[in-house]
Assembly symmetry: C2
Homo-oligomer: 255 residues x 2
DNA sequence: CGCAAGATTGAATAACCTCAACAGCTGTGG
DNA sequence: CCACAGCTGTTGAGGTTATTCAATCTTGCG
């Protein structure tokens, strides 16, 4: 689910050399100070023709990577951490289009300007590529190009799953779907070993992602816990006790 | 809005020679008879390297072009008519991901099997390309490839607008947004001349696209009409009387 | 004309939201 | 160390929106 989930496993390797860079452009940021970019040492590796293309950036929890409306000059790939992809309505209503996790891309589809802001949920390191550099690279490398195409296809497919969720699913179905997707995302290769789910984001983020209010998210989680379908060791940890029941719930099989 | 809107204007020219073909594969269709494919004469034109790639197919109102779950062997481009892109939940709830209009593509993002069914709302002619043929073509033609990439980007962007609509907008805001998008779609180049909006789909389709029930769609339309914001000469025709008010409504500026 | 499908309207209901109070945790400063 | 402030999360009560169920009307078509 969400944009990021489908992209996560993309086998695209875009290694990057470490390169000090400031994101702060000439224009002032609106709601918060320009991100403080720090050099992230130790994460660089040179292993392909893309090695001069990207720079590695570190963002602290809460910092913005890009702002909705900014000129879409770069494409990002998450190396570590977790981020949210946010859009605001004029009256302040907030919507989260997706969460970004390691391996996910952002900015591929933004042609003119970014349609969303991206904010770090936890401290995160990102690889940043110039759009022009990446495009030129893709023009020359067919294999890479096909992989990027595959990434976009899976992203589109994931977004359409989310459309169904927002358009037709009940609150309980949304939470069940979300928890299963988060579990799947953590350990995609062992479909039984993903009982423990870590939620880096807060309730407000979950609510804005699922098209619900914070209180509804709390209530549904409390209900699932009370029914012994999940456990909640702490606010950001979910343990899936009855996966099959959760799967039934996510598809609307029963109540 | 919707997948298709963003794709509509894609400048990709994929002319096709007419070619008789049956869509009915070896597998039986589930809910309705296999589409009756007829040769559509008169629409063929040879004007590029793609001329041997596609075949032109005609679908009657109500016929299915592809079924959710079918092997995704082809990509389609709408030549004329209108179609709906449908997904069904196990319990019968229905969701429409987008409407397809002339110029729109379908199947680009479906890698393994189609995630949606496509059904003709009105009689429609489609150009059909084999996935393998199209991919090979794209590998060889950089300009075409960039255009297809642009198509996918706009599609993704449109779907994300729709996520916001489904996740955060009220029924009135959804209808206002929808009507404006349909108007824009009809005459994209004359942003004042698009008062008259034709809705080829029925209320049920609109409801499933906007994440509402039929009755809600009716009530909101009746309310907009009563407030002299729109007129409804007949069920499938909307006249936009106060575009600015509709724009305010679509963004949630007022009531 | 007569039927069937779609559209509309009304009344009652349910799901989710809003508002409000409170609990739990974290970090700060005396 | 403790008190307190601020933030996030949780729970309760009541309100609103959109749904559900039902009846009626309209339209297209044989």
């Amino acid at each position: 689910m969400g944009i990021a989930a489908a992209i996560r496993e993309a086998a695209i390797e875009l290694p990057s050399r470490v390169q000090s860079a400031g994101l702060a452009g000439p224009g002032a940021r609106r709601r918060q100070a320009a991100a403080v970019i720090e050099e992230a040492a130790g994460t660089a590796r040179v292993s392909g023709a893309l090695d001069r293309l990207g720079s590695t950036l570190l963002f602290r929890k809460g910092q913005s990577v890009v702002q909705q409306g900014d000129l879409a000059s770069h494409v990002f790939k998450v190396a570590s951490g977790a981020l949210r992809v946010v859009r605001l309505m004029p009256d302040g209503r907030r919507h989260i289009a997706s969460f970004l996790m390691p391996g996910d891309f952002f900015g591929l589809a933004d042609l003119e300007s970014y349609g969303h802001s991206v904010e770090a949920i936890t401290d995160s390191t990102l690889l940043r590529y110039t759009r022009s550099g990446l495009e030129g690279f893709l023009d020359r490398d067919m294999q890479m190009r096909r992989q990027v195409f595959g990434v976009m296809c899976r992203e589109l497919s994931a977004v359409q799953d989310h459309l169904l969720l927002l358009g037709r699913k009940t609150a309980t179905e949304r939470l069940a779907t979300f928890l299963l997707a988060m579990a799947e995302r953590r350990s995609p290769h062992r479909p039984g070993e993903d009982r423990q789910v870590e939620l880096p984001m807060n309730r407000s983020d979950v609510a804005d992602y699922l098209g619900l209010r914070i209180e509804t998210v709390c209530r549904v989680l409390a209900d699932l816990k009370q029914r012994r379908i999940i456990d909640m060791p702490d606010v950001h940890s979910i343990v899936i006790l009855r996966r099959d029941t959760l799967e039934d719930l996510s598809a609307g099989d029963s109540d």
